[in-house]
Each structure stands twice: as C-alpha cells, then as structure tokens.
Amino acid sequence: MVNTAAKVKVDPRDAKLSMAHFFVAFGALALGGLMGLLQTLVRSGKFELPWGIGYYQILTAHGVLMGLVLTTFFIMGFQYAAVSRTAGTHSPAARRTGWIGFWLMTAGTLMSGTMILLNEASVLYTFYAPLKAHWIFYLGLTFVVVGSWVDGAAQIMTYAKWRKNNPGKPSPLLSFMAVINTVMWIVATLGVAATVLFQLLPWSLGLVDTVDVLISRTLFWYFGHPLVYFWLLPAYMCWYAIIPKIIGGKIFSDSLARLSFILFLLFSIPVGFHHQLTEPGIDPAWKFIQVILTFMVIIPSLMTAFSLFATFERYGRSKGATGLFGWFKVLPWNDARFTVPFIGMASFIPAGAGGIINASNQMDQVVHNTIWVTGHFHLTAATSVVLTFFGISYWLVPHLTGRKLTKAMNKLGIIQAWVWFIGMAFMSGAMHFQGLLGGPRRSAFSTYGDSKQALEWIPYQIAQAVGGTILFLGIILVLVIFINLAFFAPKGEEEFPVGEAENLQEKAPMVFENWKLWLGITAALILFAYTIPFIDIIQNAPPGSKGFKTW
C-alpha cells in the first residue's frame, strides 16, 4: 500500500471529469426519483397520471435513469477519481479518453431518454423482446455501453502505467478494485452489445422482420447479473478500503479484499440463467449448473461480512470496548461518512438473504415476477448501493470542488440516510409481503375484476405510497446536500480517505495481478456455462417473433 506515485489530492483536471459524471448522475436521480414517487402513487389507486402519460412510460424512465444512468455515471466518476488518487494523476491521453467516454455516454443517454419521453420506447429498462422500441432508443444504449468502455479504458491505462513504473509491487488496493470492476463490466456488456447490435437494432430498423426472443433474453441476462455486481463492487470498495480509514481503524486484510474481488469477477458472469429459471427452452441441467455457480458468490459475500465485522471489532477494542458487542457502540455514529454507508451495509443483510431465496429454483416459483423482486433490488441497489454512493459523495464532492463538508451538512446527511431507511422499510417491506401474496411487479393499479386476491394487495400498495413519499423527501434532501457541496459549501480541504492494511508486512501475492490467469478462468467458466445451452437454444429455436408495441 505504500506508494510514491499517489498524491493525497485528486488533481483538479481529474476532479473536473469526475464531477461531470456526478452532475449527470444526480440529475438522473432527481428525475428518476420523481418517477418513482408517481409510480407508488398510481399503484395506490388514489392517483392517475395526467395528460395521457402512461404508467409504463414513467416506469421505463425510472428504471433507465436509476438502474442504468445514475449507477453507471456515478461508478465511472468515482472509480476515475479513486484511480487518480491511488495510482497517480491520469495522463493527458487517459484523461482525454475519459472525456470521450463521458460524452459518448451522455449523448447516448440523451438519445434514449428522448425516445422514452416521446413515448416511443416504453419497453422497460430490460428492453425485453418482443417489445419493440424506436431504433434510436437502442442506438442510444449502444452509445452508453461503448462510452463506458472508453471511459473505463482511462482507468485501465493509468493502472497499467502504475504497474510499469512499479514492477513487482502489488498495485494500490482501490485502483486494483476499480480495474476489476471495469474489466468485469467490459466482459459482461459484450452480451448486451451483441443482442442490441445483431438483433434489436436491425429488427427495429426494419432490416429483419423477426427476433429470436430466447437468444436475446439469454444475452441480456449474461449481462444482467454482472450488472448488479457492477453496482455493488464500488460500494464494497468503500466498505473494504475507505471506511476503515474514516473510523480510524485498519483494513482487516488487504489480500482477503483482493481475493474476494477476484471471486466476484469469476462468479458474477456465468450465472445469468438464474433470471431465466421459469423460461422454457433452456435445459434444466444447465439451469442447475448455473444456480450452483450463483451460490459460489455467497463465499466472497460472507468473506466481506466477516472482514467488515472484524475491522469494526478490532477498532472498537483498540478504543477499550469490551464484551461481545461493546465495539459496536464506540463506532463514530456522528460522522455521516461512516453512518450513511453503514446503514447501507446493514440493509445488505436482508437484501442478501432475499437474493439467496430468489436464486433457489423452487423459491423462485413463489417470487418470480412478483413485486417481491422489486422490493429486493430496492434494498440491494436502491439502499445498500445508493446510500453508500451518497456517503461517498459527502466527502468526495467537496474534495473535488475544494470545499468542506460542514457540520450542518454532515448532520443533514445522517438525517437523509435515516429518512431513506424509514421510507424504504415501508416501501420495500410492503413490496416483499405483497409479493409473497402473489402481487405482480411492473403493474399499474388494477383490481383485476375485483378478484379477492387482488383486493388483499391494496393495503400493501398504500404502504408503498407512504414509503415512496418519504423516500422522495430523502431525494430532495440528498440533492440539497449535493448542490451545497458542489457550489456553496465553504472553501477548504476535505480528505479523500484511503485505508491502510492492519498488517503492512503482509504483501498481497502477485498472482492477484496476473490478468492472463484470471481472465482465462473467467472465459473458461463462461464458455463452460454457456456454450452447450447456447448451441441448444439456437438449434432448437422456435420461429422468430415480430415486434409488439403494447403502449
């Protein structure tokens, strides 16, 4: 972890590019948050959208803005800054690459967003065929994906430069983690790029009449599962490598952190079938194999839980805490930089437990396509991940803009996180229970001909609207803080915290940086999990489907 190239402060030229990402991310949060509120109000049955706006149109906007735009822009901006801080300022060439990526992504976002607003693309953020959107929507998504590759290349360039200048040394932990996540993202997005370029674009342009639905969904989920780990790993970067510094403790083990990231790279991709368990046309044996591979990610997840608990306990005991859980009380609860991500970590406990249920074949029959699933990922993505992102921005934004996180903003940050937590407890909790009672996801308000079962769901939908309203208040608070920290907070120096390992003698094994090895195993696992079922899907394909516009 000792390295000379690292600067304590992110270079202002790099800071500018990171901030550009954050403006788009928080803009998406503002718009997407409003859509989320409207969705819960519609679903309560007490409110109807004006001016002929469709429910599925705002749902598409919400999913795209929150799930794709907010996350990708925040992650790229954060990782770009983390690499600059730990592996050294980006070279002008790398920075130019980063800007090109940023503009490509922004242009793509505007293209797709416009088509959603024009009601030409209400296909939801998973853009499942045979729902067919305007071709500009798919082209915009292509720009976002290609832009993110270019953007990620900047991080890889700076990491490669560091490795060249420091032969035989393990790279700085945060840079290593950022590059793992970028590499995973590039491998994963190959799938979605394939379906968009070879199937959806030609089909929406009218060059071909039909689309093979199962192939396109399979390529989508090859990407869709690693997508959620792409969201999660930056949060893990904060939990493993930044939080220890914030609380004044040490990273429990640098090597363990690296190993768990490598395991995420290996086991996030060959598992997409767990989203297709109810899909006909895929051999159950291969579904079974991919479910087993899915359960492998429980290992690095529990490693993470263990090492975080250990960091906290070690720190607490060094402060003189005693007893089984005395260390818990001495953690710095008045520091938003700690408390906000901590609430995110705690939410990951029910979120992770829900994930194991979803991935179990039989239980998926109970919850598949119910609003339980929506409740699940509002805990994982919309709580664990975004609260950690909020917590990061409370020090990173002032660090990048040369300002300070004031006492007042620190306090507001903690209030914001509790408001979010309470709102989400209502909304996500009610979604989980309604889902267990069979309530469908992706559904506007309906009593389904006054069926008895559907009437049972209504109280839960009202609870979701209560939660959604509280959450929207949380969105307003975080935007107030963001704007304050970006433009109005007093000038000063805010630290970019980077943790140190407890045992500095323990040098991370160099095999962790052997990309040929890890990419080789990643490719081998993907080929193993997908080749035979894919051939099977192609050879036994039903006739293709024409496009549908249901809105």
Partner: protein, 49 residues
C-alpha cells in the same frame, strides 16, 4: 490485594484487544438469519405447489 487486581485487569486486556469473538457471534447471527428466511419461504413453496 492490589497485586491481584492488577493481574485480572491485565488478563482481560490481552484477551480483549485481539479477540474477534464479537465477529464470530455476528457472522453466526447473520448465517442464522439467512437460514431462517430461506426456510420460511421454502415452506411457502411446499404449501403452495
């Protein structure tokens, strides 16, 4: 008397500062929570299908 007191204090300190028993307890509680949630939904499945 004074000596005995010193001794006990010393012992707890050694045991405490390097101990990870809270971590062990926490991961066990976590594991238990996962198992309980899983089994409850499993029973819903058995009931319904």
């Amino acid at each position: 008397m004074a000596k005995a007191e010193l001794k006990t204090k010393h012992q707890t300190e050694i045991e405490d500062s390097s101990s990870l028993k809270g971590t062990l307890a926490s991961v066990f509680i976590l594991g238990l929570f996962i198992i309980v949630s899983w089994v409850s939904v499993y029973y819903l499945f058995v009931d319904r299908f």
